[in-house]
Structure formats: structure tokens, C-alpha cells
């Protein structure tokens, strides 16, 4: 189900302790769905206002699909031990995301690990299974 970004923002603004009013509303991401992707890094964009991982992921038919995966701003990643050098093109990784509601191959990154399960930087204070 799609719902207007305005509605989501209005809801966020009505709540005194507004949750997570970031650079933009997060309504475009479906927080009821958590998807795990395994793929190969095409590009890591260390940029403002968001970092992005361009990840090549094979779909069910074996075709490569490029996903645009949004992250926080560089300063937030830096505080968690991330650097521009942590992801190189061709590197296999695994990420958990909230996907885009519109069905496009994209989402917001919640956790990221190497292919063999090692946390990249410090995703969260405690490990999430």
C-alpha cells in the first residue's frame, strides 16, 4: 500500500518527540518489511546528504539487478567506524534493508556485513540476528 509522503510527514510533525525527521521523510521505505540482500558492490558513494551503496544483486532468474541503497550522511557512518575505503567495487556483502514501497530496487540500509558475516564498522550497539 502506498500512502502520501505528506501524510507521513504530517504525522511525524504532530508527534512532540518527532521520530527520525531526517533529511527527508522515511515514508518511501516500507518499515514493515525487512529484506536481506547478498550482492556485489558496484560503487560506494560517500556523499552528502546520504551515502549510497550501488549493489548488484541477482534476481530469481539469475539476472543482475542494480539496487540503490541509501544510508545516513557520512558523519553518522564515520562515527560508527565506516570510512570511504570500507567498501570496494567488486566486494561481496550482505545487507538488511527496508525496501522502497514502490517496488523499485532500492531501500535504506539497516545493517551491513561482509559475505562471511563480519559486521562492517559498527552497525548497531548489539548484534542483530
Amino acid at each position: 500500500m502506498r500512502y502520501p509522503i505528506a501524510g507521513a510527514l504530517a504525522l511525524a510533525l504532530c508527534i512532540p518527540a518527532a521520530p527520525a525527521l531526517a533529511h527527508h521523510s522515511m515514508a518511501m521505505f516500507d518499515q514493515t518489511k525487512t529484506v536481506t540482500l547478498s550482492g556485489t558492490v558496484k560503487e560506494f558513494q560517500w556523499t552528502n546528504p546520504h551515502c549510497y551503496i550501488q549493489l548488484m544483486v541477482k534476481d530469481a532468474s539469475g539476472k543482475d539487478v542494480e539496487w540503490s541503497l541509501e544510508m545516513g550522511a557520512p558523519m553518522y557512518l564515520y562515527a560508527k567506524g565506516w570510512r570511504p575505503s570500507v567498501l570496494k567495487a567488486g566486494m561481496p556483502i550482505k545487507v538488511t534493508i527496508n525496501p522502497l514501497r514502490n517496488g523499485d530496487p532500492g531501500g535504506v540500509v539497516l545493517t551491513a556485513t561482509t559475505a562471511d558475516g563480519k559486521q562492517i564498522g559498527r552497525n548497531l550497539s548489539r548484534a542483530v540476528s
Partner: protein, 264 residues
């Protein structure tokens, strides 16, 4: 006894004859406080998602995020808005183009989850954040005359020391909400007074009072606290040149720039 009033008068006249700069210098503490390092607001921990850590953790586990979020009193939901202020707040809630965030501006730079740093000298204090927003505080007695002021997103700041407390007086700030979508919709007539001090080791507090005859019924007081930023050995600056957000829509993430060029 008659000599005392005479001596006092002489002392006052002598002080009045001291150049203004020297008078101000007399109020500067002999030893300036050490607020070096990077500081982040207490109670805000941002994950790699750009969301609060608790919310990110819940989402990663497929759970409902806990209520609350970033600790941002300067968003202004508890401010004593008057009718004009309420009108602006209502307009704000109906916005869709919510991507005005090339920086945080004043006063939000004090309440972002981005780190800030203080540069304290005898004649100036500068507060700088990761977007290079700056509060440039002159140790001066008064602002320029109204005719010689022009509003900016950072305002005009003067300051003085009261013991170990830095008092910053800021005016001529453009409506902060026009610069950053999360900021309060105050007018450029607003007057901001901050009282910043280290109340205990590794802990700074900032008591801020805002008065705005255009949008507030009375003084709006907020309390901010800061702790040393962990994970930084340097400030992380970056240009704002990769906004792939399709603002005002729910249409998602724009393709990378190289693909936009090749398709355009």
C-alpha cells in the same frame, strides 16, 4: 569617610576612560574554559541508516520502532506559539517538499545529531558543525544598529563571560524553517540567548531562551546537553552534491548521477 565617595568617583571615571575593548577584556576569565574536541547532543545516537539506533535495531528485527526518537527540543513542538506561530506550524505540517537541509543553520546546529566544535579565544568564540554552519560570536557589548544588520541563517552573535558561563546573544536570524525543514518557523525578529557552560567533566549544557514577538506568546526555554563525540578523530565535512531524494513525492531514490546523465 568623605574620601571614599571621591575615590569611587575617580575609579568610575578612570574605568570609563578605558577603551571599550579593554573594559570587555576585564570581564574575560583569566583562564578560558577548555571545550576542545567534538561534541554531540546527548540522547541522539544515529545509526548507519540515518535513523536513531533504537529505531534501526527494531526495523532490522522486523519489530515496531519504539516511540520517540531524536531528542530535538528546538524542533519547537513545545514552544509557546501565538496565532501567527500556530499558523506557521500548521503550514509546516502540510508541507511535502521537505528536503531543505543543505545545513542546519541557527539555532538547529546546536540540536542536530551532527557533531559540533568550539573554538574559544579571548575576543571570539566560534561554534562550527559538520555542515560548516557557524555561530561566530564576537566578545562585543552590542550588535550593529538595526539599519546595518541583515538577516542570515546564522544571525549576528555577540557574547560575554559570566564566570565560566558563555552568554551568547543572537539576532537577525532568517526564519530557520526556510533553510532547514525541521527547524522552527520563527521570524527574523527573534532574539536568542544561550548560556553555555561545563556543568561537570565531559558534559556541556546550553540553556537557550528564545523570544519572538511575531510568533511566540512569551519566552521559549529549551535545555540542551552535549557529550564528547565518539568515533571521531577529525570533523567529517563533505559537500552537499549528491541529493538523490525525490523530494515531495514518494517515488523513491533517483538513479546515480552518471546514469542520469547518460539517460538525459
Amino acid at each position: 569617610m568623605r574620601t571614599l565617595p571621591l575615590l569611587a568617583t575617580v575609579a568610575v571615571l578612570a574605568f570609563a576612560a578605558i577603551p571599550a575593548g579593554a573594559q570587555r577584556a576585564a570581564k574575560i576569565p583569566a583562564r578560558l574554559p577548555d571545550w576542545s574536541g567534538l561534541w554531540v547532543p546527548e540522547g541522539n545516537d544515529t545509526a548507519i541508516s540515518g535513523l536513531p539506533e533504537a529505531a534501526t535495531e527494531a526495523r532490522a528485527e522486523g519489530k515496531t520502532p519504539p516511540p520517540g526518537g531524536f531528542n530535538r527540543p528546538l524542533f519547537g513542538f513545545g514552544a509557546p506559539w501565538n496565532e501567527e506561530g500556530k499558523r506557521r506550524q500548521a503550514a509546516r505540517q502540510g508541507e511535502t517538499a521537505n528536503c531543505r537541509a543543505q545545513g542546519w543553520g541557527f539555532p538547529m546546529l546546536m540540536n542536530a545529531d551532527a557533531p559540533i566544535q568550539f573554538f574559544v579565544t579571548r575576543d571570539k568564540v566560534m561554534i562550527l558543525n559538520a555542515y560548516r554552519d557557524v555561530t561566530d560570536v564576537r566578545m562585543a557589548a552590542k550588535h550593529p544598529s538595526e539599519d546595518d544588520l541583515w538577516p542570515t541563517v546564522w544571525g549576528d552573535s555577540i557574547g560575554h563571560w559570566e564566570g565560566d558561563t558563555l552568554v551568547i546573544d543572537t539576532i537577525a536570524v532568517k526564519n530557520p524553517h526556510d533553510y532547514f525543514h525541521g527547524a522552527p518557523p520563527l521570524s527574523d525578529k527573534a532574539h536568542y540567548v544561550q548560556r553555555i557552560r561545563m556543568d561537570k567533566p565531559h558534559h556541556l549544557i546550553d540553556d537557550i531562551t528564545i523570544e519572538d514577538p511575531t510568533t511566540l506568546t512569551g519566552p521559549w526555554k529549551a535545555h540542551l546537553a552535549f557529550m564528547p563525540a565518539e568515533g571521531f578523530e577529525r570533523m567529517v565535512y563533505d559537500n552537499y552534491d549528491n541529493d538523490r531524494t525525490e523530494c515531495g513525492t514518494d517515488s523513491g531514490i533517483a538513479p546515480p548521477k552518471d546514469e542520469q546523465k547518460s539517460s538525459g
